[in-house]
Structures are given as C-alpha cells and as structure tokens.
C-alpha cells in the first residue's frame, strides 16, 4: 500500500514540477511561418537528393571509423575496468568520465589536438569506457553466484572469467552491439562541431535549407544503423579496426602534426583560473562566484527545466506510441510501419532532431523538448511494445481503447516508467548539450567559453555539468529502488 502511495506522490510531484517548468521556461514559437518551413522540410524528406553523394561518402567512412575504433577501445577498457569496478576509485573515475558528454570531450580535445583523429577517438572512447565499465559490471553482478562457489580455490581473475563472465557474456555481447549503434550516432554528431563525419554535412545542409540533400544523408545513416545486425560480426571486427585505422590516417593526413607542448600548456596553464595561477585565492573565489552566478546558475536552471519537461513528454509519447509495435493492438501485417517509424526516430540523434526543430520552430526550449521526447520516447515505446508482446491476455479481453486502458496499461505501466526513469540520465546529459545549438542550457555557456578561448571558464562549467550528471545518476538509481522499479533492459 505504501508503495502505491509513493508512486502516486511521485506522479503528482512530477506533473506539478513540469507545470512549473512550463510556466517558467521559454516556449515561444519564434519562426514567422512554421508551416511553410515544415512543408519544405517534409518535401525534402520525400525527395532525397543523392546527386552529391561523392562529397559526403568519405564522411560516412570517417563516421564508421571513429565509431569502430572509439567504441572498440571502450569495449576493451570497459571490460577490464568491470573486473575492478568494486574499487571506489575506479567507480568514481568512471562516473566522472561518463558525466562529461562526448561533445564536450570533443570540444576539449579540439583545443589540444585540433582536427587530429585523436580528438574524435578520445571523445568517444573516454565516456564510453565509463559507461561500458558500469553496465558490464552490473551485468556480471546479476549473474548467479552458484558456479563461483565451486571455484573458491582459484584466484579472483579466474573466477571472474570462468564463473561470472561466461554467464554474462550473451548480455554483454548484446549490450556492446547496442553501444556500437550509439557510437555511430555520437560519431555522426561530432561533425556538428567540425570533425569530418556525417554531422558536418548534415549541419551544412540543414543550415542552408538544402533539405533534400539533408535527408539523403539521414537515409544513408538509417541504412547503416538499420543493417547493424548484418555487418557487425565479431569475426570481422579486426578487419574493420585495421580498415578504420588506415582510413583515418589517410583522410586526416594534413592534420597529423601535433604539438606536445600545447598539451602541457593546456593542462598546466590554460584550464586554470588566471587569478589562481597568480596565487590570489580571494580573487579566485570572487571569479568562481561570479561565474557560477552569471552562467552556471542560469545554465543549471535551464538544463533542469528542459529535462524535466522532456521527461514528462517522453513518458506521454511512449505511452501513446507503444501500441504501434504491440501485437495486442496492431496486426502483424501493419506492425512493420510503426516499427520503421520508431527505428527512424531512434536512429536520428536528438541533437539532429533538435537542430531540425530549431529550423522549424525557431529558437526556444520547445523544439529541444520535442526532440528529446521524440527520440527517447521512440526507444522506450519500442521496448515497451516488445514487453507488451510477452503479456498473455484472457480470451474474453476487450478490444481497442478498453483493452489499452483496462488490460494492458495497468500491467505494463511500471515497466514503461522504469524505462523512462532510466532514460532520464540520458535526457539530462543531452539537455546540457543542446545548449550548443543556442538554447540557454549549460552547453550554451560552455560553447561560448570555448569560442572566447576561456578554457578556465569552460572547465569549471564542464565540471559543474559532470557533477549534475553524477547527482542525477545517483538519485535516479535511488528513486528506482524506492519505487521498486527493477528492470535493467539491455538497450537503455
């Protein structure tokens, strides 16, 4: 009983907070004639233009190469770290590296390595290692302890390898495949800040209003992601890795020069507050306070505001859309249609969706919240639909709306909510990032600091963002436990 009560409280609190956020935020439709722009975008969607494919095909190669090497490194490192994930230091290091979004890592490395391929590789490999380590460790944790008891005499490593890892392996493989999909999305998005991947051309095409070309790029990307299960075979991985290495070395030949002195200067000088370097602690305090007050606080406020509204929208979107892929509502013959739509929405990075939204609706939080909820909602709707397919209904169950509200939803709701709360951490990370597009979340201030070459400022704000993500991760876990929502799906 107490449990049900707290779920009700949770909903009341969430809706109240979201209403407050909507009242306080900036939700205006800024563009003059959104329907005309939407029409042009839709027209681009049905008339994709593949005539200049030769211009962006190399970018496709680089997108795959960055993802392959970056995620590959993260798999290996994550697996190693999962072995020692019970060490507090390792846990904290992993939490901090994954607290910083790959785009922020890329902005940082861009300053030190320029357009050298290391920028893209490290930007993916670092946070992904932290994520893989955590998830692998959790998957290993969830395995049965029975076999281990029979190997008590062996060393820790053998026990991990033979008693735990072997059980968790199928799950680890499935999750790793999903990580590669995420890696491809991240790699594509890195192009928006200047790396030579698909995002580079996508940004240009959308910015210039060449929607037919933009959709050609998007469709090619969908094809790449949609066929993942066919081409991502473990035995081909070494070949892919070598091909990626050769490709990156070949395409980034002019950028291969590196200046180690710059790295040192960046670490020892650029990222530290000037007053601190001068030894003036009081001035450092004033500077930090002013920065927090003028940029950190508004950024934090807007980030939270956007992600809370996006969370509620996501939940609503998922609840509305899961019937499309559920056998209880749509015949097999038609289910592929809903399936295709959800896969397309989930394959499009939220950053790209937000960019399209901004072009369509003008600058405000509205397109950002829509993008976040459509992308994340599609993922959750897809998983929830699949979960609903495992439900067995009575033979005399009602159909249509009645079936939805009285039979399926009561049994499925907890699962949908659990998925949504899992996604909250991701929504929050992305809310901060969308600031780079000009919404006043933390990413806006971080991007501005980089553009102004104030790396000390950028550093403080990035640390603040990472702190926010870590707090969110801890409290989301607490909340799930409190609401007794335990369900670790592999693709969340």
């Amino acid at each position: 009983m107490g449990l049900r009560l707290s779920l009700r409280h949770f909903h009341a609190g969430l809706l109240l907070l979201a209403a407050l956020c909507i009242a306080l935020g900036d939700w205006a439709i800024g563009s003059h004639d959104p329907s005309r722009i939407l029409w042009r975008i839709l027209h681009g969607a049905i008339t994709p233009d593949f005539t200049n494919t030769h211009e962006w095909l190399p970018a496709m190669g680089s997108t795959i190469a960055f993802a392959m090497l970056g995620v590959g490194a993260a798999w290996a490192l994550g697996l190693l770290l999962s072995l020692v994930y019970h060490w507090r230091l390792v846990r904290w290091c992993c939490a901090s590296v994954r607290g910083v979004h790959e785009l922020f890592w890329a902005l940082l490395f861009l300053q030190v390595f320029g357009l050298h391929p290391l920028t893209g590789l490290l930007a993916i490999a670092l946070p992904y290692s932290g994520i893989c380590a955590r998830v692998y460790a959790e998957l290993v944790e969830e395995t049965s302890g029975l076999p281990e008891r029979h190997l008590r005499a062996s060393d820790r490593f053998s026990r991990f390898l033979w008693a735990r890892l072997t059980q968790a392996w199928p799950h680890i493989r499935a999750y790793s495949g999903y990580r590669m999909e995420c890696g491809l999305r991240s790699s594509a998005v890195l192009g928006f800040i200047g790396l030579p991947t698909l995002g580079y051309h996508l940004e240009t095409a959308f910015r210039q209003g060449q929607y037919s070309q933009a959709f050609a790029l998007l469709y090619a990307f969908f094809l790449l992601i949609g066929t993942r299960h066919w081409w991502l075979r473990p035995r081909w991985l070494p070949v892919y890795a070598i091909a990626s290495l050769v490709w990156l070395a070949h395409t980034s030949a002019p950028y291969l020069s590196l200046q180690p002195s710059l790295l040192w200067q960046f670490l020892s000088h650029d990222i530290w507050p000037r007053a601190l370097l001068a030894g003036n602690l009081a001035a450092t305090g004033d500077w930090l306070w002013a920065l927090f007050h003028d940029e950190g606080l508004p950024g934090l406020f807007n980030t939270l505001l956007l992600s809370l509204v996006a969370l509620v929208f996501t939940l609503a979107f998922s609840l509305l859309q899961f019937p499309w892929v559920s056998r209880h509502f749509v015949r097999t013959r038609w289910r592929w249609l809903g399936h295709a739509l959800l896969v397309a929405l989930r394959s499009t990075p939220e950053y790209v969706l937000a960019y399209i939204g901004l072009v369509w609706l003008g600058p405000s939080m509205l397109p950002a919240a829509l993008a976040l909820s459509v992308h994340n909602g599609a993922i959750i709707a897809f998983l929830s639909g699949q979960a609903s397919n495992t439900l067995l209904l009575r033979t005399d169950t009602p159909a249509g709306i009645d079936r939805y509200f009285w039979t399926v939803l009561p049994r499925l709701y907890r699962t949908v909510l659990a998925f949504t709360l899992y996604r909250f951490e991701i929504i929050l990370r992305e809310s901060a990032i969308l600031g780079i597009l000009g919404i006043y979340t933390l990413g806006f201030y971080i991007d501005s600091a980089f553009e102004d070459f104030r790396f000390d400022k950028a550093m403080v704000l990035i640390v603040l963002t990472a702190g926010l993500n870590i707090v969110a991760e801890i409290s989301a876990r607490g909340l799930r436990q409190h609401l007794a929502l335990r369900n670790t799906p592999e693709e969340i």
Binding site: G30, G114, H116, I193, E203, Q259, R274, G438, F450
Partner: protein, 287 residues
Amino acid sequence: MKTLLRYLAITLLLAAGHASADKPFVFTAIPDEDESKLQERFGQVAAYLQQELGVPVRYVPVKSYAATITAFRNNQVQLAWFGGLSGLRARELVPGSQALAQGVEDAAFKTYFIAHRDSGLTRADTLQDTLRGKTFTFGAKGSTSGRLMPEFYLRQQFRQAPEDVFSRVGFSGDHSRTIELVMSGAYQVGALNYTVWESAVAAGQVDTSQVAVIWETPTYPDYQWSIRGDVDAQFGKGFMDKVRAALLAMKDPALLAAFPRSGFIPASNSDYQPIADTVSAIGLIEE
C-alpha cells in the same frame, strides 16, 4: 594473432608514411558565410597559391571560428583568412605570427544592423531606444562584424548588456544565416558583415521590401590573412614574403569573389590595435 600483429604493423607503417609524405602548405578560412560553398570558393585560391608558391597547397574547411584558431595554433594550417577578432586571438596564441594582407574593404569595414519590416524600425543615425524589447541575433560568437562590434556599440549606446536590452538574444552562426533568420521573422533585428549583405542584395537573395538596414557602425579594421612565424623554417627562407607577394598579386576577379574583396593590400599586426582596444573595452578577454 600473428597475422593480426602483422596487419597492425603494416597499418602503422602506412600511417607513418602518410605523415611524412611531402608536407603541403595548408590554409583555411573562417566559415563566415554559405558553408556549402567554402570548398568551391577556396579550392581555386589553393590552386592559385600552389602555382605561385611552387609547393603543394591545400585548403581545409573548418566548422567554427574557434576551430580555425586551434588549427593555426597546432600548425595544422600555416595560413588563414581570419576576421579581425579571430586573427587577433590566433596571433596572440602563436608568437611570431604576422598579419600579411587585408582586403581593400577591410581597412574601413563596418557592421549593418538590419530589421524586419514588421518590427516597425526604420533607418536612423544612431541606435534608437525603440530597439528595446525586440528580439536580436548576432552572427557567430567569435565574429568581429557579427558579434564584437555590434556588442560594443550596443553597450556604448544603452549602457547595458545586450541580454538586458533585447527580449531575446541569439547567435545565428554566420552572416548568411542572420539574413535568413531576420527575413523569416525568427528574429526582428540582426547585425552582420556589410559585404555579405551587399553581395546578397546584389544577387537578389534578399527581399528588400521585408528587411532593411537600420543602422551602420563607424568603420574598423577587419579580415586579414595571418601566417605563422615559423613558415620560413618549415618551407624555406623567404617563404613568408613569397606568400605575401602572391596574395597581393591576386587580381583575378573570380578569385577575389571568393572573399568577396576587390583586391588585397598589405597589413600589419599593429593595424588591428583598434580591435584589441574594443575587446578589452567590453571585457571579452578579461585579464
């Protein structure tokens, strides 16, 4: 495993071979307008420089002003077509680097403030109080004519930060996009590079019944070619002078249209002192 290692060794050799191949002279330009045309615009400039300098020359496109500066700092490009502010920052970060040449127009550059007709704003000799409460977009965050100068004059006129003068302040990303956003009504007012405006109007890309210039700033020095101080060591003695001579000798209208400028004249680091003064006046670089 052995074959794998062998493959890896070959790969690394290939990669190393690429790195040590005849080093080209690389240049870039800030992405200030129509990005899809950058390669087209500067590809022919690369061909011209290659012919004049006798070394392989490559143009590489970049996405942001900051990335242009970083590439220059990392010696991934040795020459760049910078704006006033980005050039200043780049030369501060690379000791010994030089402003080589500027466009004829750059000695006395200016920013246009443009407004949509529906805003009710009209042309005036100063920034009017009627601007208050309107929505406003700069260009890129690191732009001289789209950010630094308009912000300076806004602060001077209103004694307030732009965020406090306008109801909404945005950054369009580049000058062409500023025109588009004001034309679509997404922002009522915008500030941009006057040459981009003039050439867009001349090309018939602006609906001048909807959008008009409402104020122009006093003049200031802007775009310039800047080069790293160590190019003589990298490409041979006298290389910097050769580059300057090649830039100043660029007369082909098709090449000059890439900038768009009517020709190039010599420039020096000290020409950009007014930009440095403006920067410290509005505290973009606090010391």
